[in-house]
């Protein structure tokens, strides 16, 4: 059995419950204000859609000081008001425990997965604790594909504001799609349904103490599922409205953890993605409908100011990561960023794609300390976001989605560029170690065309 990060009382609670068909996990840290709504939605969803199944709601807390755990345990659900007239045949347990280990969402998930494993759950779902738009239907949409259609991972599919989730739209979605050939629209959505087979795979891994323990967990889960050929689908959950992010949470750190996890997994699964061409859609469940979204205010000038500062001061670091032609193009952009009023700032899809691929290769070849490398991506990322905001200012959601699709196609068509640069160093390594795994894979290229 892997390292347990559950406190002793959590294990005791699991032993006393014995077995649960469904486990729904909620990671939390100081979410007393929003978590009651989430717990109510989960409980109502379990009673309404799975009355014959035994279920446990597990709150994995990071040491909240605002009474989050008490809120979880004391929240009540008025079933009559929800028009749930049927009486559930099995009880829905609710437990709340602090997890041990590195503070972060990943560690919280780890405890939830261990709890699900102990309880021999047939399906598990995880949802964020700051959600304002969660409804009981979310539980049905996340759990049913696992229970009744034998999917291993149910990824969320939301409607989001065009300026929301820009790490997803600019980097993670296009990159994951181009690498592994599956169009999972929200790979770091945060709300997932999981099969016991996939949970066992996660638990058995040894990289929990890395960026996975923090913001890297979502992309880690998705990538492992897709790279190891687990069955994946998506469920349309409507709008994702959630609390403002912790202002102390540093954007650079978040970007570092998410993108660092993607790059690390690229090294681990290079045999899985090097052969992939194109991409294929992923099954989507749920009833798609339009929703109203919170407006989002963005400060383009501040983003461009940080980009300009990066151009002035980070050239040395960027020169270790970017190809000379790419670096020259970035430096030319500095002038455009200085005169944003005269001429709209524009960072095109092809250049952004090359930047991301160059950073991935620099990360692999360790040309510079990886922390510095990933953090130095922030000004470039902000430039891309600023460009995106300027370009999509007047566009409606569908047209914005078309632009994101264009970016994804740029990532897919530039994949040979990534492969060449990625293998540059591998060729040297292969010559040194002709019997290594990577050398073998290189000598036996077997491209797989993904059916479109």
């Amino acid at each position: 059995m892997p390292d347990w990060i559950m406190p002793a009382e959590a294990r005791k609670a699991a032993e006393s419950i014995g077995h649960a068909d469904i486990v729904v996990g909620v990671p939390s840290y100081n979410n007393a204000r929003t978590i009651p709504h989430v717990v109510q939605a989960i409980q109502a969803g379990l009673i309404k859609y799975f009355p014959k199944f035994s279920a446990v709601i597990v709150n994995s807390d990071g040491g909240s000081s605002d009474g989050t755990r008490e809120a979880v345990l004391s929240t009540s659900v008025d079933l009559a008001r929800l028009l749930i007239l049927s009486t559930p045949l099995r009880a829905v347990h609710r437990v709340s425990f602090p997890y041990h280990g590195i503070p972060g969402k990943g560690s919280a998930f780890r405890m939830i997965f261990q709890m699900a494993e102990l309880l021999e759950a047939q399906a598990c779902a995880v949802v964020d604790s700051d959600l304002r738009s969660i409804t009981p239907e979310w539980i049905d949409l996340l759990v049913r594909p696992v229970l009744h259609a034998q999917y291993d991972l149910v990824a969320p599919y939301y409607h989001r504001h065009k300026y929301d989730g820009t790490i997803t739209n600019s980097i993670v979605y296009p990159l994951t799609r181009a690498l592994y050939g599956q169009r999972i629209r929200q790979p770091i959505g945060g709300d997932f349904g999981l099969s016991p087979r996939l949970i066992r795979c996660y638990i058995s891994r040894q990289d929990w103490e890395t960026d996975v323990a923090r913001y890297g967990i979502d992309i880690w889960m998705t990538t492992i599922a897709v790279a190891e050929n687990f069955r994946i689908c998506q469920s349309f959950l409507g709008a994702k409205l959630h609390d403002a992010k912790d202002p102390s949470a540093d954007l650079s750190a978040m970007l570092q953890q998410v993108v660092g996890s993607v790059f690390c997994l690229m090294r681990e699964y290079e045999t899985a993605w090097l052969a992939v061409r194109g991409s294929a859609p992923v099954d989507l469940f749920g009833f798609a409908h339009d929703v109203g979204l919170d407006p989002i205010e963005v400060n383009v000038e501040r983003m461009l100011a940080i980009f300009r500062a990066g151009c002035s001061d980070l050239g040395e670091i960027w020169s270790l990561a970017l190809e000379p032609a790419t670096l020259a193009a970035v430096q030319r952009l500095q002038w455009a960023a200085s005169s944003v009023d005269a001429k709209p700032f524009h960072l095109d899809d092809e250049l952004w794609t090359r930047m991301v691929y160059d950073f991935a290769c620099a990360h692999k070849h360790h040309r510079i300390d990886r922390g510095h490398l990933l953090r130095s991506l922030t000004p470039l990322y902000l430039a891309r976001v600023a460009s995106f905001v300027i370009e999509t200012k007047e566009l409606v959601a569908q047209h914005v989605e078309d632009k994101i699709e264009g970016l994804c196609l740029a990532f897919e068509s530039a994949k040979p560029y990534l492969e060449n640069r990625w293998q540059d160093d591998s060729k040297t390594e292969a010559a040194r170690h002709p019997f290594s795994r990577s050398a073998h894979n290189q000598q036996n290229p077997d491209p797989v065309e993904v059916k479109l």
Binding site: D164, T166, L251, I296, E297, R302, A309, H366, H372, T378
Partner: protein, 234 residues
């Protein structure tokens, strides 16, 4: 007159002969030792570069981040570095052995002093090297942080961090070598005092800012709310 000249000449020749007899054989031996050391050093350097091809060491340097921290291009070759160290170490030992052949008071003192100083020199060298590596690493960290946070004068902050760390490393190294201890120590005290003063000033200003915020909470909240909304979408 001729006899006196002849005597002087004979004495000079005898003295020269004596010098030749005394110093030429050791000189020849010393030259031979030096040449042998040079040959050995060259062969060793060649062997290290060719035999290992640096795979393991280079990978260690690359993966530990030392290559990028020390070499500005990030392409520091560990093999070349080790081969260089071995080369110069053999040459140094060869030189000391060669001058020891003369067996004079001066050469013996030089050899003795060098041998005794080697451990301290090595320690000081390691301290300076570590300080250099740390200064490069933390300087770069400070630079990236300052740029990402929109802090003005990012490059100057990074340079200041580098200089501070290098200075501390040099002070410690000088102390190890017992070299101008007082001068370095005095400079260090002045420097540390200045740093403490700057830190107190920064702390005071931060406290003032915090007090202002606590006095005007509503205003602070609106500013923070605004700041949050700017970055929420990320």
């Amino acid at each position: 007159m001729i006899r006196v000249v002849q005597e002087i000449f004979e004495k000079t020749v005898a003295r020269l002969y004596q010098h030749l007899v005394t110093y030429v054989p050791p000189l020849i031996v010393a030259v031979v030792i030096l040449l042998a050391a040079l040959l050995l050093a060259t062969v060793m350097r060649w062997l290290i570069v060719k035999a290992t091809k640096g795979a393991t060491l280079d990978r260690f340097f690359r993966d530990s981040g030392l290559a990028s921290a020390i070499g500005r291009s990030g392409q520091l070759r560990a093999t070349s570095l080790v081969a260089g160290v071995v080369y110069w170490a053999i040459l140094g030992i060869g030189f000391l052995t060669a001058i020891d052949v003369f067996d004079t008071t001066i050469t013996s003192r030089i050899v003795e002093a060098t041998v005794f100083a080697v451990p301290k020199l090595l320690t000081a060298g390691v301290i300076v090297l570590a300080g250099f590596w740390l200064s490069q690493y933390l300087g770069r960290s400070a630079l990236v942080w300052a740029v990402n946070e929109g802090v003005p004068y990012a490059r100057r902050i990074a340079i200041a961090v580098k200089v501070i760390i290098l200075f501390v490393a040099v002070v410690v190294a000088a102390d190890t070598l017992n070299f101008a201890e007082r001068v370095f120590f005095a400079a260090f005290v002045i420097f540390a005092g200045a740093a403490a003063f700057a830190a107190s000033l920064a702390g005071g200003l931060t406290l003032k800012s915090l007090l202002e915020r606590s006095i005007a909470p509503r205003r602070h909240e609106s500013v923070e709310q605004h700041e949050r909304s700017l970055w929420n979408h990320l």
